[in-house]
Symmetry: C2
Subunit: 98 residues, 2 copies
């Protein structure tokens, strides 16, 4: 079953690192995206904001990344059982090239 | 700038087709996704729900698709200037294979 989002975005906010009971670091951040996308042969301005989560050592590396433009890849999941808000679980992240 | 979501999902709800002032058909639907995804070497259950929009003739073809499992591809945009909710603008849709 497919569930993969590839997104270029600016790191808008990044919370402090927190740790799970098992000691795994978690970083929550807010990503802001702006681009032009094709819809019905019309190029339209697109913006969106999405909360993203990095789990594990990757979280430590990206904790001071506010303002940086990154390229991320991961899957979407709802925030919690009772909260349908979408959260991007980041599996790959790198600085935006070029 | 990357902004592409690939998702397998069930069509949960589909509104009636509406038309823009220019006569372009628009179909809004609610997609429900369930899968297992890898995070930190752990396979976890993932669910999410997302509103999706099909613009143009494709909308007419998929207006009676409630209950069907589809594979879709498109870009994310916020619903409106003042509403940050994410909407998937579908660029490709097909019945889930196999």
């Amino acid at each position: 079953m497919f569930n993969q989002l590839t997104l270029s975005a600016e790191v808008g906010e990044a919370a402090d690192i927190r740790y799970t009971p098992a000691g795994i670091p978690i970083l929550m951040m807010k990503l802001t995206h702006q681009s032009q996308q094709q819809e019905m042969d019309i190029l339209r301005q697109v913006t969106c904001e999405i909360d993203a989560k990095i789990t594990g050592d990757m979280a430590l590396k990206w904790q001071n990344s506010v303002g940086q433009v990154v390229e991320v890849q991961g899957f979407l999941a709802k925030r919690s059982l009772k909260n349908n808000q979408l959260v991007l679980h980041i599996q790959h992240i790198e600085m935006k090239k070029g």
